[in-house]
């Protein structure tokens, strides 16, 4: 079993309806997603071997999934030999307990954190807080979200749903003073607030973008330098790493360090990337812990179609091209993994509950598959999860009846004629729209989130026959 913040509290249709009512949110999101996607397209267009890199990236990740037991033990041995201590966690609760105990042992009551999806996934900050330990998020966007008492709404830019004046107000309420709401002034306020924390912190907590099996090396990709601060200045570093983050060799980074920055922020390279292997005397933390986390990854690995979701390198390119994400934002997905990748990752990592509705939070337009740097066929997995997921008895009965009708051409033609005759008065009532907004119960369940199209006035066969005889 897995747990943490992957499980939605509300089904997507309920949460999405609420978010759709927020016009400011939609405006902020549209501006942000279109800006990043245009930049990404320009930067990807610069790379003549982009498709080759994508295919290599996908294959390296698939190779890792087929050799995971050997690679994990190889990573553990190399990291241990380099002076790190490796821990394992079956689920979110166990991972939180391991990290909390490690922090407690240092005797400190405050830790600085690098932005990391896996620590959000396992709900680490809440666990630390329950143990009397304050976890300070140091990425600017994560800090904004933390100060607002909110949750992130995007994998890469978690505060994408706020504009500058909203951010200034959040800072102001928390005693961070900025003279104006200009982005440089706001960034400066965050810099002053956090510098004291970096210089005094005794424990840093991070995730990792990649973990190299052959050398035991961990990699963190970032922009602001807050990551470097947390990875370099504290005495103790605790890195929480999902078991799918493994790469076999150092050389494999040559593929992912090309794919990730261009896909995520639309930059040729992100400002800072840090690589460290265990402990280096005189340079950086002298106590290094690595916590390898399963939390539903092995259940996902067992599914032949769905396991490709584990290739994900958390670039968030799929979010920025998704027509559904663009309108409802990240909160509607409930999980820390929103957007198209969240719609396939969250239900697989965590099983049922409200997440069961997520595979339907998509138009199946396929833009996410085109954007994905490791070629995760998200539409394929969405359809697969819809097929394997539970269906209400009424829907099953309706589909069985439809399948019986459509198996025979005469039955099908007769049904169409009947539907057309039945629809004639409604067509007159709906006028030019040609669709019904509200059907009576029980069909109202269908029209609560979509229009019901009316059958065409003429079938293609009828039209063809008519054209031929003219």
């Amino acid at each position: 079993m897995s747990g943490g913040n992957i499980v939605a509290r509300l089904p997507f249709p309920v949460a999405a309806r609420k978010e759709l009512g927020d016009a400011q949110l939609r405006a902020n999101l549209r501006n942000a997603t279109h800006t990043i996607r245009d930049k990404r397209l320009r930067m990807v267009g610069e790379v003549p071997d982009w498709e080759e890199l994508r295919r290599s990236g996908a294959a390296i990740k698939d190779d890792v999934l087929s050799r995971l037991p050997e690679l994990l033990t190889q990573f553990e041995a190399a990291a241990t030999a380099a002076g790190a201590t490796v821990h394992w966690a079956r689920d979110a609760a166990e991972a939180c307990a391991v990290v909390t105990a490690l922090v407690r042992d240092t005797g400190t009551a405050e830790v600085v954190k690098v932005k990391s999806m896996v620590t959000q996934e396992i709900g680490l900050n809440d666990s630390l807080e329950a143990a009397g330990i304050a976890a300070v998020e140091t990425d600017l966007a994560e800090l904004i979200v933390q100060l607002a008492g909110d949750t992130p709404s995007h994998i890469l830019v978690p505060a994408i749903h706020y504009n500058r004046s909203q951010i200034r107000d959040i800072f102001h309420r928390n005693g961070l003073s900025a003279l104006t709401d200009d982005p440089p002034a706001l960034a400066e306020a965050a810099r002053r607030h956090l510098r004291a924390k970096f210089l005094s912190a005794r424990v840093g907590i991070s995730g990792a973008n990649f973990a190299v099996a052959e050398s035991g090396t961990l990699v963190v990709v970032e922009s602001e330098g807050n990551g470097r601060m947390c990875l370099t200045l504290p005495e103790t570093l605790i890195s929480v790493v999902g078991i799918e983050k493994i790469l076999p060799t150092f050389r494999d980074l040559e593929v992912f360090l090309q794919l990730l920055p261009r896909s995520s922020t639309g930059e040729r390279m992100n400002p800072y990337t840090s690589l460290w292997t265990g402990v280096t005397p005189g340079d950086g933390p002298q106590t290094v812990h690595i916590v390898l986390v399963d939390n539903g990854r092995t259940e996902t690995l067992a599914d032949d179609v769905g396991r490709q979701a584990l290739r994900c390198i958390r670039c968030s390119a799929c979010l920025n091209v998704c027509p559904v994400y663009e309108r409802v934002g990240g909160h509607a997905y409930g999980s820390v993994y929103p957007g198209p990748i969240g719609a396939i990752l969250s239900p697989q990592l965590s099983g049922g509950g409200a997440n069961r509705t997520l595979p339907y939070a998509s138009t199946l337009c396929g833009a996410c598959y085109d954007a994905c740097p490791v070629r995760i066929n998200i539409p394929e997995v969405l359809v697969h999860l819809r097929q394997t997921g539970p269906h209400p008895p009424a829907e099953r009965a309706a589909m069985r009846a439809l399948s019986w009708i459509m198996r025979d051409r005469r039955r099908y033609a007769a049904a169409l004629r009947a539907a057309r005759r039945g629809a004639a008065p409604i067509r007159w009532a709906t006028g030019r729209r040609g669709a019904v907004r509200h059907l009576p119960w029980p069909l109202s369940k269908w029209t609560s989130t979509r229009d019901a199209p009316l059958p065409a006035k003429q079938t293609f066969r009828e039209w063809w026959a008519h054209e031929r005889t003219r």
Binding site: S56, L72, P183, L186, T217, R251, L253, L275, T280, L301
Partner: protein, 200 residues
């Protein structure tokens, strides 16, 4: 069963059985353009400032870049001639973080390799670069790049690194954030000013 054994048991049961062949037909060597020009263009695009000079002009160029620095930090193995024209205070290891955090402190380093295509400087804690904190805490970083250290793309750069297990830092422009309405702001936590001197 321990968590380690349990996770490994689950992974063994769940993993796919078919072996995977990884294609490597992407570009391994990236030549053709003038790589020095390309590196300069990319660095400037990231809001770093770049100067090009001959070996005998290097000390003068560094002196000018350091003109407003009250103190300059240099790693233990930095060539002494780098600071020949600098009049201010020179700080050498061992240094406390507070020394690095003092106002007006600049740091001067070399690098291990530079990637033209992405505008990236790679530091591997070599003798002329020192430990990671040196290029992190001060607000101003000056990096000396010799043209022989410039390669085209990321694959060549990683292949050149002497030892991947050393602490490595890849720097592409000064610290930056785009978290507020996606406006790029230079300088959040790392050095706000990055000057690169390319020595022909």
């Amino acid at each position: 069963m321990s968590a380690r054994d349990e996770v490994l048991r689950r992974v063994r049961t769940a993993r796919p059985s078919a072996p995977v062949t990884v294609p490597r037909d992407y570009r391994a060597v990236d030549e053709g353009d003038d790589l020095v020009e390309l590196l300069v263009d990319r660095l400037v695009d990231y809001k770093a400032t770049v100067r090009r000079c001959g070996p005998h002009e290097l000390a003068g160029a560094i002196g000018e870049l350091l003109s407003d620095a009250s103190a300059a930090v240099v790693p233990p193995g930095a060539p002494p001639e780098w600071l020949e024209a600098y009049q201010g205070r020179v700080l050498r290891e061992p240094l406390a973080v507070a020394d690095l955090d003092a106002p007006g402190v600049a740091v001067l380093t070399g690098c291990a390799v530079a990637v033209a295509r992405t505008g990236t400087l790679i530091l591997d804690a070599g003798p002329d670069q020192g430990r990671r904190a040196l290029t992190l805490v001060p607000d101003h970083h000056i990096c000396v790049v010799h043209t022989g250290q410039i390669v085209g793309g990321v694959p060549e750069a990683l292949a050149r690194l002497a030892d991947p297990t050393r602490p490595l830092t890849l720097v592409s422009g000064p610290s930056a954030t785009s978290d507020i309405e996606l406006n790029r702001v230079e300088g959040v936590h790392g050095p706000r000013r990055l000057d690169v001197v390319v020595v022909d």
